[in-house]
Symmetry: C2
Subunit: 546 residues, 2 copies
């Protein structure tokens, strides 16, 4: 069966045609002959194909590589060899000749003829080029074919030899080596079509706009978020969420070095507190509860309970129907509260040092991740000053007025004017980060301590990054009489918050603090332009999935 | 005015009485005289009091110490001297003679006559004895009187001289020095009566039970929780929540050293997932949302999104009407999930090492806090083995049967039998900590991977401390077909969780993990006997405040 049978080819019509020169065949005869010729050709092709298939089948019968490739059985923890697996990031030219084992995604595959296939293998933000070539007794044609047929995003377990690559491979992050595959097994395949490729999802907007020759697919934010699992696999997003972790890490590291302890305050509350922002209502057995819009009350109560310095990293909930680039209905608050010995600037300065510790940590220890994000989201490096610029609210208003903003519109500084202020400050001081202190009392919540001299001004501050607010904070009122008075003046019934007021009646030291939006810091540090990109599974008024 | 005026005393009646011996006064005369005498005595007393008052008033007029004591003005950040304040914990005999400034609570005060007052000053878990004595030109009688009148739990700013104390003062944690007060100001007083004293709240149950001479006030748990702010001030609770912080700290430290990153998954979910346990329903704009009962689905999705190793510390919500010593409706989950290379024991062993890292960290770095808690909650030291005891579910059942439990009741091991197992294991192996592996499939959720040999058994485990479960975990099903099949067999409609199933259809590596209840670990490590004591502001079906 393995021998090739020559396809039967009908004799050519030429001699007949020659003899028929004088008379010549009729038109219908010509048509008929052409038809027959066509038929014969098709039959020949079919026979050739058949022969090829049979040849392949024959070759398949002697596939010597079956053990070296294929679908692995479902891992149910059948066995444990303990054989080490390596990280792509650790591969380097010094390993030339070493055989390694690794698990990775197939980002792309490209066959060259039927004897060779190139794979781009990916682990998180790292990738390497791998190739498989038909080799007697080692790599069969079938093995190459099977590998070439692997769907993008398949997870494979690969054994191969590290080879120093003759020239840097630009399509991989580890470009100075390639992997010559000796074994490849499918650990997990796909049971569905990809909504978009990880390559498309990782392409910078600028490349899509400036490249006229190729029509790239643009993956819209909503499509990404609907298929967040695939979107999160881009090297950009792998880096974004490592950086998110970095922010919390440095936040904790700094505060713990300053004697803070972490607390966990309840998100379920008995009353809708801190009137103003809307709260979500929860069915709670036979009654109702409300989701905390911040750990504000709890952390102040912890201060009244002698905790001295506390922080919390946890979800906060806002039932505001705001559909903007910077609002989420659920986000992570980095909150802190501490006793004041003399002056609330003790808190403000501690928060300032804390944020600079975070910026410095990211810049120094996450350079690779920042670079990875920059490839898709180009941004000027985030800048701050050794001595942070501090403006009073009044000074900030003056700067805006000087730039042409109508003073009468500046009782509060709205989002647009905040950005303008950010640009003006950047131009003048070359910083993306500054503090505005001493906000008007009427812009702040009831628990804000008034200035000792001017009762219309408060001991409160906002911190800004690239012209957007990332932190609000203040000295709080620790005196129950003044607190109740301010509650009433802001339309809050003191009787509606008995446990909170009681905390101050039991004696509470002067204190202050602030709350930072984790996703906002991440968005603004990296200039991601939409806070949803800084949230693993973002929630907004229109999104509760995935 | 400063000179004392002798009180006017009426002449005694004695001479008249002598002369009247023969005749003797009439009964009515005697009565009248007695009345007059009484009247005169009262007048004398009144005059004496008046004189004393005037004397005091006179003395007050020349109080030379007014600057050294009194109520401080409300701190509104009027000024900032930057003068350092010390911690009680840092005071020691080498500082003998040094003048220090510190802010503290007055735990108790005890006047000795009108010239001396002893204060027990407290900062978190530390306390020191301070005394104030009338001293010419330095401490006035008025100053002593004012200080003696300070309500317990007042916050004071004290300047004083450290003195090596002649003998150890047992009522203070820093017993080898005392503080001789030169200035004392009230930073924050109380505007309400204390519901109970911090001393009463800190008293060990054993002391209340065994002491027949003194009738101590027992502060019940509900009273404590209703007035949690005061209850949290006990040295016990200050230590408990430092230890709570310690658990998270060591949890993170270990996982970060193993390449895990922290994620934050949304607590608001579009569907009520993981059927079985009840979920809280939330009004979400015009529709509904549900509170996550665990980050289970999100962390698995993070694995499908190539995060490799993730952890989360965050609130989880259980709408179960369980009113027991170990159930809360909101608690903190320490969750982790990781890719499995070959066998789920990779995860189980990592969790085991993680927990031992936590125990070791607490024991070595929080000895002082553990001791503080033990004073109120005496407990045998928590014990674990270098090589953790692992039982299979079957072995655990056998141990119970051998001890007399009816095998037919052991399809599941209930709370009572868990405790029994804990006691039996402790007696035999001298450990408070062990693992039970290979739970029956029917006891575990749909996403649990079945054993490769025996489909009635699963690749899952529970971890125990002092006979109570603190962690559940398993290898998860990463194959979407098998997952959908198991969902249906457990009565969950795969169509109700499309985003979750999609994650696996897009290719997901084998993985496993577990979830630890923070409060349970804390409760069991310290033997607090009620999980509410391990939660800052606990939530149960009957409690949403404070």
């Amino acid at each position: 069966m393995a021998e090739e049978q020559p396809a039967q080819i009908p004799p050519t019509q030429e001699p007949a045609a020659e003899g028929a020169e004088a008379k010549g065949p009729s038109k219908s005869e010509l048509k008929k002959r052409a038809k027959e010729a066509e038929k014969a050709k098709k039959a020949a092709e079919k026979a050739a194909k058949q022969a090829e298939l049979e040849a392949q089948k024959a070759a398949a019968d002697v596939d010597f590589a079956t053990e070296f490739y294929g679908k692995a059985p479902l891992n149910q923890s059948q066995s444990r060899t303990g054989r080490p697996r390596v990280q792509i990031a650790s591969l380097n030219p010094n390993m030339d000749g070493e055989t390694v084992l690794l698990r990775a995604r197939v980002q792309t595959s490209r066959a060259q003829g039927n004897k060779m296939v190139f794979l781009n293998l990916r682990q998180r933000i790292d990738s390497v080029q791998a190739l498989l070539t038909v080799t007697p007794e080692k790599v069969s044609k079938q093995m190459v074919k099977w590998t070439a047929g692997l769907q993008d995003e398949s997870i494979v377990l690969v054994e191969g030899v590290v080879k120093k690559s003759p020239e840097i491979i630009k399509s991989a992050t580890v470009g100075d080596v390639e992997l010559h595959i000796s074994q490849i097994h499918l650990v997990a395949g796909l049971e569905s079509r990809l909504p978009f490729t990880v390559e498309d999802a990782a392409r910078p907007e600028t490349e899509i706009e400036t490249n006229d020759e190729v029509q790239y697919k643009r993956v819209l934010l909503d499509t990404r978020l609907n298929n967040r699992i695939v979107d999160l696999r881009t090297q950009t997003n792998q880096a974004v969420f490592k950086l998110q972790h970095g922010i919390s890490y440095f936040f904790r590291e700094y505060l713990e070095s300053k004697g803070f302890i972490e607390i966990h305050s309840p998100k379920l509350q008995g009353a809708a507190t801190e009137s103003g922002a809307s709260v979500f209502k929860v069915g709670y057995f036979k009654g109702n509860a409300f989701l905390a819009q911040s750990p504000q009350l709890a952390k102040q109560m912890a201060i009244a309970a002698d905790f001295e310095r506390v922080y919390e990293i946890g979800p906060v909930f806002r039932a505001e129907d705001s559909n903007t680039h910077r609002h989420l209905t659920e986000f992570i608050g980095l909150d802190l509260e501490m006793v004041i010995e003399e002056h609330y600037h003790e808190v403000m300065e501690l928060i300032d040092s804390l944020l600079k510790h975070v910026f410095k940590g990211l810049k120094e220890q996450y350079a690779k991740e920042i670079q990875a994000v920059n490839r898709q989201f180009p941004a000027e490096e985030f800048k701050w000053l050794d001595e942070t610029l501090r403006l009073t609210f009044k000074q900030a208003v003056d700067i805006l007025v000087e730039d042409g903003v109508d003073r009468s519109s500046l009782d509060d500084i709205n989002t647009e004017n905040e950005k303008r202020l950010g640009r003006l400050v950047k131009a003048k001081y070359d910083t993306d980060y500054f503090i505005v202190d001493k906000f008007p009392m009427e812009l702040r919540p009831f628990y804000t301590m008034p200035d000792p001299e001017d009762p219309t001004v408060s001991n409160s501050y906002d911190f800004f990054m690239r012209g957007e607010e990332i932190l609000s904070g203040a000295q709080r009122i620790h005196d129950p009489t003044l607190l109740a008075e301010k509650m009433r003046s802001k339309g809050v019934d003191p009787a509606s918050m008995p446990a909170y007021l009681d905390a101050f009646k039991m004696g509470c030291p002067p204190h202050g603090g602030g709350g930072i939006g984790l996703e906002r810091v991440l968005m603004l540090f990296l200039k991601l332009n939409n806070v949803r990109r800084a949230s693993l599974f973002p929630r907004d008024p229109k999104r509760l999935e995935p």
